[in-house]
Amino acid sequence: METFVFSSRAKITTLSMMGVGLLCLLITFFADGGEGHHMRFWTNFLHNSVFFVGIAAIAGFALAAFTTAYAGWFVQFKRVWESFGTFLLPGLFLLGVIMVGLFTHGHHLYHWNDDAAVASDAILEHKSSFLNKYWYTFGTIGFVGFWYFMIGKMRNISIAEDLDDRDNEFTYYKRYKKYAAIFLPIFGFTSAAMIWQWIMSIDSHWYSTMFAWYASASLFVAMTALTIMLLIYLKSRGYFPGVNEEHFHDLGKYLFAISIFWTYVWFSQFMLIWYANVGEETIYFRERMQNYPVLFWTNLGLNFLLPFFVLMRNDTKRKMGTLFFASALVFFGHWLDFFSMIKPGARLSLIEMTEHAGGHAEGEEHAEMGAAHAEEDEFGHDQHAEGHDADETAALAQGEVVSEGDNLQDPAGRNEDAIDNENIHFDASEEEEGVPVANEFRGGPPDTRMGGIDELASATDRTDADVFEPNHFIQEENIGDDEMLGHLEAAGGHSEALSVLGFKSGYTLPGLLEIGTFIGFLGGFLFFVLSKLSTARMEPKHDPYLEESLHHHT
């Protein structure tokens, strides 16, 4: 079959998926009313828009990269990626909705869009030349528009090559390659800028130079997984007779390799931040490890361990069943990865806004947050409010004490457990003969830490209490990340983030509405891609590399 026929059954399926998504979006919008600033709706909308726009753009990147590398193996199914790329046009409209929301203040996804907050915040002020709605608009329209133009141009050249039956060998191919070569470097920079704008700036005080790599790797894996699943579907419908296990083997290798690359970038980002232990940076991971442990570890398990062990073997990449299974899980895993990039930061913004709106009066605060958010009250802004958990008060009180420079005074509400822990740690290490011992320092402010270590050098003969008196920063119940607990006051206005957030569906883990929205966007993406696929021949019959693709051996 030369052209794809978009069967009515496939149409109905994708359209009903879109229906489910629309319904879920509406329910999310109305269920989480004004007091939640529709945050759940907007984050879901942004999450899925960026995810699928990213997949479309990365498909264009793959085409351009493989073409400039003279690769031939993928040529048979390159129309699939060209169709992916055309999704950038509807994607532009989706992101346009977010963009309009910036100007009308219809959503509060981005802290930097709040003029009052920027004026009173040195960090946001400093970033405001990049993080502002005009840059956002320019980037979204200009860059995504540019990507769409380039990928669309490549697709048109490839289709024109099909229709031209003269012997033209490399004429079209060379033009295609020119566009690919121009697209690549520009895409490299612009995609990074847009990922910072769209996603990283949700945690608007935080930044990481690895973030764009990390997100792009995530998108590349998701794109490969979706390609594999779509190709398996199309093959089962009788299309692409020439695509065989050799091509799937290569796609599987990409899935495997880029999953490892994703892990590498993920870990590089994590380890640098963990090692440097600067409060402005650690807050990002601290928040996710402490309050979203299931999300955090599932992300790693699904996106690293699963593809690593399943796809390591040769034959799992050559069998449709195992490959489809791994692709589906990894695809969902990277959707979850984007979920974990967006939701925790947005939830903090939500809490912050609630406080600003509600002032310091606890009664109002309760009203603002609504009954459903009751479990979050414990980190209301007022640190001395009654009813706070004792440990929390202790931790916050210590923060205050230190910021006033009064390091040595034991604050009144100090947690007994913390003192006990400290002594136990010390005693245990004391027993090591002849080795200089130390307490496990847990990220206090630098001056405190340095003081502690200096004292250590000459303090082996002192008692525990003398030596470790200044270290007030031990907190109870740290789940393995205690070493990266940031400075209390350095969290850039997020001091309340040090509290423990309760479970909240749609933030802590995706709820049914999130899954429904995901299905809806996936349906929309597939609907668009399949209708584009049906407008041209499936195999580019005059492509100079088609022969190589048909006789591809891994």
Partner: protein, 200 residues
């Protein structure tokens, strides 16, 4: 019919009679043809399969795509050794650092706890790769009888350079069967045909 170059110790005898047998116990007589590119080689292997000729081995200067299935070779099991050695390296690396930094010589680095797992990961990774690589090379050498001091066993010098070789074991074959092989070499566009006695 192609001339057979018979190679004996002390030099090559061109045009000797293939019937003369110098094979002693523990030796094999090998008849092999050299081809000048891999496309001819692949066609020749296919022709040999069609004619049910029993190929002893094929030697190429570089890996030729699609040759393994034609020869009916099974997939190498070397990567299983790689996985096992990698696992050992992973455990050794992680275990060793755990022992050093929590039991043997606990020191605080940068205010981190003794058992700071993220800092161990790069080294664990390196040791996984190292053990896996060194282990696989060692296993490969042992299985193939290679390594320092091993006697190089090659039929012809140019097999390691630019010639592709198909070899048949003719120790136990009679004249008519050897003629059949010579005929086969002629049909498949061989460049030269050689006969050589090698250690079994």
């Amino acid at each position: 019919m192609a001339t057979i170059r018979i190679e004996r110790e002390g030099g090559e005898v061109t045009g000797g009679s293939p019937e003369e047998s110098y094979v002693r116990a523990g030796q094999r007589e090998i008849l092999f043809g050299l081809y000048d590119d891999e496309v001819k080689l692949l066609d020749a292997v296919r022709a040999a399969n069609d004619a049910h000729l029993d190929i002893d081995d094929v030697y190429t200067p570089f890996p030729v795509h699609g040759l393994d299935p034609l020869l009916g070779l099974e997939e190498s099991r070397l990567h299983i050794a790689g996985f096992i050695f990698g696992t050992i390296g992973c455990l050794v690396g992680f275990g060793f650092m755990t022992w050093v930094f929590t039991r043997d010589w606990p020191i605080i680095f940068g205010g981190k706890p003794y058992w700071s797992v993220p800092a161990f990961i790069p080294i664990t990774f390196e040791l996984t790769v190292l053990f896996s690589a060194v282990g696989m090379v060692t296993v490969f050498y042992i299985i193939n009888g290679l390594g320092p001091g091993a006697e190089p066993r090659r039929l012809h010098d140019r097999i390691t350079d630019d010639k592709f070789c198909i070899a048949f074991d003719v120790t136990e074959l009679g004249t008519s069967e050897v003629d059949r092989l010579r005929d086969y070499f002629d049909r498949t566009g061989v460049e030269t045909v050689h006969q050589k006695t090698v250690a079994a």
